[in-house]
Amino acid sequence: MPSRRAPVVFPSRLELWLITLIGLVPAGLYFWYGAHNQLGADPVNVFERWLGLWGVRFLVVTLAIAPLRDLGVINLVRYRRTFGLLVFWYAVMHVATYGVLDQHLDLRAVFGEVTTKPFLMVGLAAFVLLCPLAATSNRWSIRTLGRLWGTLHRGVYVVAALAGVHFLMAFKTYTVTSVGYAAALFVLGAAGVVRRVRHNGRRRMSAANEPMRRPKTTG
């Protein structure tokens, strides 16, 4: 693994707020269009897919931050939570659009579909898994959960795999869009898993080789 990590770029609080605001523009814009009958013949479907697509886009950005750092390009790790939360908000809006605008809150229909259609089960699993990640994306959780926090947040690789499968299944055939984004999610997710495995391997090795020289940590 290349050791030349790029220096951390520290964002200002304002910058992070701006990213969030700008990141929500695609949703806001299309919601306005849809409410004013500007989304064509099948507005709910267009909006639902649009939200899914943007969720996937922000997930790709989120997952790309670590490899970009490791390759020495740029270290945006301090921006990652903001992008990760955008993924979550788009997932919330995507699911809400399905339930409210599409299925008209017909809970029996929703339950019937999400329990029998692999396409929806996979999507729902990705969403459910995202929830604890979003809920623990604050300093207090990081402090309180310690090592467990890192383990939990590795769940994002599972989210990437599930979201990639769900995205592929949303198209009737394999298209440039569906295969392109799904491939990005799978590759970035797999790269993350490989990075963790190697990292852990190295840590175990160094621990075994030099047990005495391990620096003592003082909690």
């Binding site: 919601f31 849809g34 409410a35 004013h36 009958n37 500007q38 989304l39 064509g40 013949a41 099948d42 507005p43 709910v44 479907n45 909006f47 605008l101 599409d102 299925q103 008209h104 017909d106 229909a109 019937g112 579909e113 029998t116 259609k117 692999p118 396409f119 929806l120 299944m169 198209f171 009737k172 055939t173 394999y174 298209t175 440039v176 295969v179």
Partner: protein
């Protein structure tokens, strides 16, 4: 009110027709692209005339018809049909055309003809979706019906909609409309109709047999593997808050006319 002077018929439904703008801008016509808006965008260079359709196979009088021949032989009538897409949306469309049975009567099917295969035009020069690529289907597009389905009075060959000739994106100049089946059965821009003895290899069915059956009858009790077919989004320019959803009816509401075609068949198996 259109240019076709179609005769009104009793083939109509109570629901209001889908606005013309939606019928002509929201299309599945993969020959012109994968997105619903692609057909209207990419079909400007398509030439629906001159046009001929060959009707042959197991018939006594195989024949090639020009559109003028068809106009002379087949008086145009209007039928307002429900259209239910396999993707769980629906429209109500005023078609203009003639019964397929009338056309088949002209060529006289032979006794061993059991199926009818419909072949769409192959013109990669004019149809960007046919130039290959990742999502490409096997071209030309082929659909099929059992002969008795093809002879049912509901089965319709459309040459127009809303009183005018079919726009390119809707399958100009000649397309099939089978209102009790999912929309993909309605082959567009047809150049050949063949009467055959064996079930034809149809495009979507051979592409994904577990998702698209040969029969493809609208059936709320047999789900698509990825979504329920129990209800449908009603297409119509109305924005989010006017967008409707309705319960899907067996045979798309045409059971009275067609249920007997499937007497004794297990429709879960023959979906």
């Amino acid at each position: 009110a259109g240019t076709l002077k179609a005769r009104a018929t009793s083939y109509t439904v109570k629901d209001p027709p889908t606005p013309r703008v939606d019928v002509t801008t929201y299309n599945n016509f993969y020959e012109f692209g994968l997105d619903k808006g692609d057909p209207v965008q990419n079909s400007g260079g398509f030439h629906p005339e001159p046009w001929t359709v060959r009707v042959d196979g197991l018939v006594r009088q195989p024949r090639t018809f020009s559109m003028d021949d068809l106009a002379a032989l087949m008086p145009v009538e209007e039928r307002i049909y429900r259209m239910r897409c396999v993707e769980a949306w629906s429209m109500v469309i005023p078609w203009d055309g003639f019964a397929l049975a009338a056309l088949l009567g002209v060529v006289e099917p032979l006794g061993d003809a059991k199926y009818v295969a419909f072949e769409s035009v192959l013109r990669p020069d004019e149809m960007p979706g046919q130039r290959g690529g990742l999502a490409s289907l096997d071209w030309p597009y082929v659909e099929g019906l059992r002969l008795d389905e093809a002879m049912n009075p509901l089965t319709f060959m459309a040459v127009g909609l809303y009183g005018d000739r079919l726009p390119n994106q809707n399958g100009a100049p000649l397309r099939l409309v089978v209102p009790w089946k999912y929309g993909f059965k309605g082959a567009k821009s047809i150049v050949r109709i063949r009467l055959v003895a064996d079930m034809p290899r149809t495009t979507w069915h051979s592409m994904a047999p577990e998702e698209y059956g040969f029969y493809a009858n609208v059936n709320p009790t047999v789900d698509h593997p990825r979504w329920s077919q129990g209800s449908e989004r009603v297409i119509g320019s109305s924005g989010f808050f006017g967008a409707g959803r309705r319960t899907t009816e067996m045979f798309n509401g045409y059971g009275e006319q067609v249920a007997s075609l499937y007497a004794g068949m297990d429709l879960r198996r023959w979906y």
